[in-house]
């Protein structure tokens, strides 16, 4: 029965891919904007899925990294620096900061770690809000330009959407390759049984730090795309709320599943937009959906799909 599962998954993916490529032609600029936002948030969620889903390290700091990436990009591009340089700067800074944030993870676990990362996120938010000379404080940085690739301007909604989509594809491919590598297996060992992993030679210290650093780096890349997408950066989006939202995306989609972040981002970014017509009630409906999901399928949407289509015998992942 494994083949039919693969065929099902393959067809869903193919349909989704087609949709993603042709959708902009049927949508108004706001619709394209929301789809671009979905792509950007998925990248951040993929990062968190790596840290939380694969390596088992809980992090409530992802929003801070998205913010750092966004502010670096906004600051540099408004000063005339080329976009690719903001990647390097933003990605490397976030990677390094994430590595440092991993050190507390070596000392404490689970809910304590959640609080340390939460505190970190709030501290970073405070810096964004207060250091006006650097970040513009509550007034933020406006008129963030969109980049141009090889002379082609990405200014239009559709062009920039494809730019974001291309990044999503690149990030996904890289993450897929990472997970398939010995590192991916080491992360799973770290998550499932760190004591046994240690005794098998897995340097759990290095892999924990790496899980944080990589997740943070992806958050930074997400931020680097977020800035030119919304073209105005202020501190509010990078507060704790986004970290919780990203956590929700990862868990709801399916923590530790490759496509979990994609699904989670659909629920967290697209669903509220589609439900907007219900006005005050859409947040309530969203909240109820989240609670029901957690009660009946804590392994998320993909966990549910896995269980429903699991062949009765054999077949390991």
């Amino acid at each position: 029965m494994r083949r039919s599962r693969r065929v099902l998954a393959g067809s869903v993916l193919a349909l989704a891919a087609v949709f993603l490529v042709v959708a902009p032609f049927g949508l108004k600029p706001y619709g394209i904007f929301i789809l671009s936002m979905w792509a950007v948030m998925t990248i951040a969620a993929i990062g968190l899925n790596l840290t939380l889903g694969y390596a088992g390290q809980i992090s409530l700091a992802q929003a801070a990294f998205v913010g750092i990436g966004a502010y670096i990009t906004a600051y540099l591009t408004t000063k005339g620096w080329p976009f690719w340089s903001t990647y390097l700067f933003g990605g490397v800074s976030c990677f390094a900061t994430g590595w440092l944030l991993g050190y507390p993870a070596l000392r404490v676990q689970h809910h304590y770690l959640a609080f340390v990362t939460l505190a970190f996120n709030t501290l970073v938010y405070l810096i964004f809000r207060n250091e006006e000379w650097l970040t513009g404080g509550i007034y933020g940085i406006s008129n963030v330009p969109r980049p141009s690739v090889l002379g082609w301007s990405m200014n239009g909604a559709r062009e920039f959407y494809y730019f974001c989509l291309a990044h999503l594809v690149l990030v996904s491919t890289a993450t897929w390759w990472l997970i398939r590598s010995p590192w991916g297996l080491a992360f799973v060992a770290l998550r499932e049984n760190p004591i046994r992993a240690l005794s098998l030679g897995v340097d759990t210290r290095r892999y924990t730090l790496m899980a944080f650093a990589l997740g943070a780096g992806l958050g930074g890349i997400s931020g680097a795309l977020y800035a030119p997408l919304v073209q105005f950066i202020d501190p509010t989006p990078f507060a704790l709320g986004l970290s919780l939202n990203l956590l929700l995306m990862v868990v709801l989609g399916g923590s530790g599943y490759f496509f979990g972040p994609f699904l989670g981002a659909i629920v967290a970014v697209l669903l509220p937009e589609w439900l907007r017509f219900t006005q005050g009630f859409y947040l309530m409906g969203y909240a109820v959906l989240v609670m029901i999901m957690m009660a009946f399928s804590p392994s998320g949407l993909l966990g549910l799909a896995d269980r429903l289509t699991r062949p009765r015998s054999g077949g390991a992942r």
């Binding site: 809980i58 609080f115 505190a119 969203y286 909240a287 989240v290 009660a295 804590p298």
Partner: protein, 249 residues
């Protein structure tokens, strides 16, 4: 946030006077936020682990906020104070009677809780359940009931806290978010497994927070409790007053 609204609804829709409405609010708090929360949310989800429960509670928080906003309103309503808003002069400084009253009630509640947990049979059974539920069950302790009591007590404590806070902050659907966070931080700093730790953590946090606002910077006021939190978690995770709990391998 909610208990205050229960009281307001009691006074508004049911036409009760203040104190009967407070009592009604207490009962509803204990039932809804205690019993219902446990039976409908915690029980089904706890076997899946902590993370789904955390996510579900985030969802529940959003739901409660939005329900109040949608069905009661988005404004900030005044809430009657428990005592007259007078001042008193002591030791050369001016104190609001309200503040002294809040402090006194908090200390009284903590002492009462401490006496209950350490001095009564039920309280000790609850402690046993917390330390080793399997063994407690074998000893004949009704573990499920003990857990229920925890939630009931929490419902009541939240009711008291709401009554103390809402006159100052007014009844608004966004109440409680920052306070909830501060409460968690206070509990961790003070020591999660000690009731006394709560009062130490709370007082320490309150004092530090206000001093930071004046002497460091009002903008970075929140940073000080957070930094203390980080230091405590990294170097003394059991909290200032807590005891290290042995992990089983």
């Amino acid at each position: 946030m909610l208990p205050a609204f229960f009281v307001l609804i009691g006074m508004g829709s049911f036409g009760l006077a203040f104190w009967p409405a407070v009592a009604l609010g207490g009962v509803v708090s204990v039932v809804v936020l205690g019993v219902a929360f446990k039976k409908l949310m915690v029980d089904p989800m706890i076997r899946h682990g902590v993370l789904p429960l955390v996510i579900a509670s985030i969802g529940l928080a959003i739901l409660m906020k939005e329900m109040v906003r949608e069905f009661y309103g988005a404004d900030a309503w005044p809430f009657p104070a428990l005592w007259a808003t007078t001042d008193v002069s002591m030791f050369g400084a001016v104190f609001a009677v309200q503040s002294l009253l809040i402090l006194a009630i908090c200390i009284a509640v903590v002492v009462a809780l401490q006496l209950f947990l350490g001095g009564t049979r039920t309280g000790r059974c609850m402690q046993a359940t917390a330390q080793n539920p399997t063994l407690a069950r074998l000893l004949g302790i009704r573990v499920e009931r003990m857990i229920l009591y925890t939630f009931l007590i929490n419902g009541a404590l939240v009711w008291i806290a709401s009554l103390l806070i809402t006159p100052i902050y007014l009844a608004k659907f966004t109440n409680g978010e920052w306070l909830g966070l501060y409460a968690f931080i206070a509990a961790i700093i003070g020591g999660f497994n000690q009731v006394r730790g709560a009062i130490v953590g709370g007082l320490l946090l309150g004092v530090v927070d206000n001093f930071a606002a004046v002497y460091i910077s009002s903008q970075y006021r929140m940073a000080v409790p957070l930094l203390i939190l980080i230091v405590v978690i990294l170097f003394r995770p059991q909290g200032l007053l807590g005891r290290i709990e042995e992990r089983t391998v």
